[in-house]
């Protein structure tokens, strides 16, 4: 079957987004999109209503008939209907899991990585050495009522006692699933295979136990894929069956519904592999912020469960504190009134900023949500702990231990932003500035955003298993990703080191494709943006002594960079970025940087 049209939806916790991909003139392109509020809430309590509403918008805009009454019409007949329909979902609170491992920083962390990689929210990590008494663990399991539990522990052939103890704790807690009283809680065992039969004896009757390969068969190796796949299967079989309207939605789709973050992660991993680069991807949603990274070919995902732009916006305020939010706002505002406004966004989560002032405030909060999420990610994306490394004499002086963060801002090649506040920012300059301010890239880093937040849909498209269409769908996903999804914003060049000590910390010579040349001097505290298309630009970067732009202290770099919709941004503000505490100085600096970026032109007036 030749795929001619694909309808893909992503049912988020706030909005349901539909995209239509069509095969036109020999290529797959995104042609239309629509969105509508997600309808898990009363009075509808049926996720398919939102899917139909979003699809209706696509119909209205495209003039193509897709719905047949309250159904999506597949396959395409003539000009109506679509060949396949697929979906991702994070509505219903997403997939909420508890994981357990013997040693918190070893099998516990591996289990957490597997669960996060599969797209779930990890509510708690239980471990034999987590400092809690058994009865405290039991109380915790009962309170949290997860959708699923992943139990791991021990290397193959190692001691079984601790992992069986954990299983006994689970059994004693007799956990009830969050949704539906009548089914047994799914538990995945991915630990020491020697303990399998004892685990079966302990948990087999009480829970819906599934056994898969050990997540940490040997200390030096993580084997996450079998657990991740098992989580996806159980997510479909159990959890989705209980959420309002999902049974119907599942009967409509031509491929299993994937948890939204699982789909985004799959796509980011694919991009990093294809281009052989280090990538950080971020998806800032209503309730949570997900960060994905690939450094040294290792994929990591973290979810900051209560850092989001609507449902948990007040938690961003609480965790970041009001002064940290206000440091990004280039005008004075009544602090008490501001907290009420943010509170109102939390209780009416689907509203959008109509006035410029509201937009600036929302983007200030986004910076803090992104910053805090990235702090958490850096702490989690680390080398495997507990691995003994053979050291040579030369290594002995470098006391680098296992458990070091993989995130190296100087090594980072690309930041991809997605989620409403980044993808739907009215100006791309705003998205670029939010990414720079919150991630503080160092050296040379490309910036991009998911144009209309379609990474989830493309991720699930690229993972269709049906052999008949898998290849085509994957090709279509990559084609649309390149052509319509990724908006190249440009490149950020940020020298680090002792910027304040030299008059001109960075000298730049650029040569554009048309032969035009440009020399730029970057001073401390300055932000400079130059317009440049997404095409090759030859750049010679000469940092002053004590300043590094990627090759080391004072070392010159000759390289090729790319512009984009925003262009090239030279960030001479230094790392870490320090913002003046005095309100007047802060406002004046923010206005200066904002003007340089053409971020909020109306505010400067």
């Amino acid at each position: 079957m030749k795929l001619r049209s694909i309808l893909a939806t992503d049912c988020g916790s706030t909005t349901t987004k539909a995209i239509l991909i069509e095969f036109i003139d020999g290529e797959y392109r995104l042609t239309h999109r629509g969105e509508a509020p997600t309808t898990v809430e009363a009075p509808f309590e049926d996720v398919t209503r939102g899917v139909l509403n979003a699809t209706m918008e696509v119909e209205e805009l495209s003039g193509r008939k897709i719905l047949d009454g309250d159904n999506i019409s597949t396959p395409q007949k003539g000009d109506s209907g679509v060949d396949i329909y697929i979906s991702t979902s994070s509505a219903g609170g997403g997939l909420q899991m508890m994981v357990a491992g013997v040693v918190k920083s070893m099998t516990g962390e591996s289990a957490e990585r597997a669960a996060l990689g599969a797209g779930s929210i990890v509510m708690d990590v239980l471990a034999s050495n987590d400092g809690r008494k058994p009865h405290e663990k039991i109380t915790r399991i009962r309170q949290l009522r997860p959708d699923m539990i992943l139990l791991s522990g021990g290397i193959d052939g190692g001691t079984t006692k601790h992992v069986i103890e954990l299983a006994e704790i689970l059994a004693a807690a007799n956990p009830q699933p969050r949704l539906g009283q009548d089914y047994k809680l799914p538990v995945i065992y991915a630990g020491n295979k020697k303990a399998t039969s004892d685990i079966e004896r302990t948990l087999g009757e009480l829970t819906d136990l599934d056994i898969t390969e050990n997540i940490r068969p040997v200390l030096e190796q993580e084997n996450l894929k079998p657990s991740r796949d098992k989580i996806h299967d159980l997510f479909m079989e159990h959890v989705m069956q209980q959420a309002p309207g999902y049974k119907k939605l599942m009967s409509w789709t031509d491929a299993p519904i994937m948890p939204t973050p699982g789909a985004v992660g799959a796509l980011i991993e694919m991009v990093a592999k294809k281009e052989n680069i280090s990538v950080v991807g971020v998806d800032i949603g209503g309730a949570t912020t997900d960060i994905f990274s690939v450094f040294q070919e290792q994929f990591n995902r973290t979810v900051s469960a209560n850092l989001g732009m609507s449902y948990s916006i007040c938690n961003v305020l609480a965790e970041a504190s009001l002064p940290n939010v206000l440091r990004w706002v280039p005008f004075d505002i009544d602090e008490k009134e501001l907290t009420n406004r943010i509170g109102n966004k939390m209780i009416r989560p689907t509203t959008v900023p109509q006035s410029l002032e509201e937009l600036v405030i929302e983007q200030a909060i986004a910076r803090e949500a992104l910053r805090l999420s990235f702090v958490q990610h850096k702490a989690f994306a680390v080398n495997l702990k507990g691995v003994q490394k053979e050291r040579t004499i030369s290594d002995a002086f470098e006391q680098s231990d296992s458990g070091q963060s993989l995130v190296d801002m100087m090594e980072l090649d690309l930041i991809v932003g997605s989620g409403g506040v980044l993808s739907h920012a009215p100006r791309r300059e705003q998205s670029a500035k939010m990414l720079i301010d919150s991630f503080l890239p160092e050296g040379i880093t490309s910036l991009a955003v998911d144009s209309i937040f379609m990474m989830p849909q493309l991720g699930v498209m690229a993972n269709i298993e049906n052999k008949e269409i898998a290849e085509q769908a994957r090709g279509a996903a990559l084609e649309v990703f390149e052509k319509d999804c990724l908006i190249r914003l440009g490149t950020c060049i940020a020298p680090v080191g002792k910027l304040s000590r030299s008059e001109i910390p960075l000298q730049v010579n650029l040569e554009f494709k048309n032969g035009e040349k440009k020399d730029i001097e970057v001073r401390y505290g300055e932000l400079i943006r130059i317009e440049a298309e997404y095409e090759e630009i030859k750049a010679v970067l000469t940092p002053a002594k004590g300043v590094d732009v990627g090759a080391g202290d004072g070392e010159q770099i000759s390289t090729t960079i790319f512009g984009g919709q925003v262009g090239i941004v030279f960030d001479g503000r230094g790392r870490p970025l320090e913002i003046d505490a005095s309100s007047s100085k802060r406002i004046s600096n923010l206005k200066k940087w904002s003007e340089a970026m053409n971020e909020y032109p109306e505010i400067g007036k």
């Binding site: 609170g93 039991i138 004693a172 449902y311 009416r348 959008v352 009215p426």
Partner: protein, 375 residues
């Protein structure tokens, strides 16, 4: 006609109310189909499994896990009291015995020969569910609970704190614009549900707590004052389990916002009636909004006059409320729902509705409007 789906809050004068009352775990239902119930009647009971304590006997007695059964002096199913001997080694010639006592009173649930752990479960915790509203049992969910049918006024608030409560409705402020101040609340209001207009200050709410008022229904409250009431900063709007004598239901939002006309009038018309309220709010998937239920005696002839569920979303002519600044809190009528995207002051491109507020037509993003469902 163009239409759009916007979940709105219900303000219904006379509607059929179905209330599900469920146990957290299966148990026994103590009423039957067709029975009339009052709010305080217990309709179902169960015992939650008691807390569990685990004792690693093998470790404490320094024996192999496989030998634990031999040192146990109690069996699975035995009841033990706190500090009672549960395991003991034989010692040497009857001397140098080591022993383990139970840390709690309870029942021996399991003895593991794999790890040497002994599980002791404490006594079950009884849980009862009451009817919460006055009505008739419409459905019995076997071993889990019931659905109670009632008829009356039903109002949803936007946010609340405190759980279920009930009391007579007492209108305190003269109109929907006025605030409830501390001096308006007295000991006479104990057990009542007091209704105000636009706002209640932290001081006035504290006075309500002191006077043991059953509930407060008001247009607005300050978000930052919640810190002091709750003892923590509310990061996500999930409430209902707070231990507060006075449940608080906010109908419009944070800040000073006049209560919706329909809401205020409806509460005023029911002044003196018994109402059941619940401040529990969950703004996440499976949204729960706080509610005010005012049952009216069910009369068979009245059933035909019940409001039908008129949830149709936003259409031209719908009454809507603006739920974000500018124009926050204002009520208007939808004049037009253009299909194309329009640019706002923030430069955001959105689908809008053109609404009339006080004779002026304004463009508002559709997502910033809420349908006011009235009858």
């Amino acid at each position: 006609m163009a239409h759009s789906y916007t979940p709105g809050l219900k303000v219904l004068k006379n509607t059929k109310i179905l209330k599900e009352r469920r146990l957290p775990l299966k148990g026994a239902v103590s009423t039957s189909l067709g029975n009339s119930v009052k709010p305080d009647d217990i309709i179902a009971k169960t015992d939650l499994p008691g807390n569990v304590q685990m004792v690693n006997v093998a470790n404490q007695l320094n024996v192999d896990a496989s030998d634990v059964k031999e040192v146990m002096v109690v069996e699975i199913g035995s009841e033990v009291v706190k500090n009672e001997l549960i395991a003991e080694t034989k010692g040497l010639f009857g001397f140098f015995k080591s022993s383990v006592n139970s840390p709690v009173s309870g029942t021996i649930e399991s003895i593991s020969d794999l790890t040497g752990q002994v599980v002791i479960r404490e006594a079950p915790l009884p849980v009862e569910v009451d009817a919460y509203i006055e009505g008739v049992i419409d459905e019995v969910i076997e071993k889990e609970g019931v659905v109670i049918k009632s008829q009356g006024a039903f109002i949803q608030g936007i946010f609340g704190i405190g759980g279920e409560s009930r009391g007579e409705i007492k209108i305190l402020s003269p109109d929907r614009d006025a605030e409830i101040s501390a001096d308006m609340i007295s000991a006479d209001h104990e057990g009542l549900i007091i209704v105000g207009g636009s706002f209640i200050s932290l001081n006035a709410y504290k006075k309500a707590l002191d006077c043991k008022v059953a509930g407060v229904v008001v247009g607005g409250f300050n978000y930052y004052d919640l810190d002091e009431v709750l003892g923590y900063t509310l990061g996500v709007a999930i409430t209902g389990s707070e231990d507060l004598i006075t449940s608080l239901i906010v109908t419009e939002g944070y800040g000073k916002i006049q209560m919706g006309q329909q809401t205020f009038d409806l509460l005023k018309n029911n002044s003196g009636r018994l109402a059941s309220i619940n401040g529990a709010t969950q703004i996440r998937a499976g949204v729960i909004r706080p509610e005010i239920i005012i049952p009216i005696k069910l009369n068979k002839d009245d059933e035909a006059n019940l409001d039908k569920d008129k949830t149709v979303g936003m259409t031209e002519g719908s009454t809507v409320r603006v739920i974000r600044s500018p124009n926050f809190g204002k009520i208007g009528t939808v004049k037009e729902l253009p299909a194309e995207l329009r640019q706002m002051e923030s430069e955001t491109m959105v689908r809008i509705a053109i609404i009339e507020i006080g004779g002026n037509k304004v463009e508002i993003p559709r997502s910033n409007l809420e349908v006011v469902e009235t009858d």
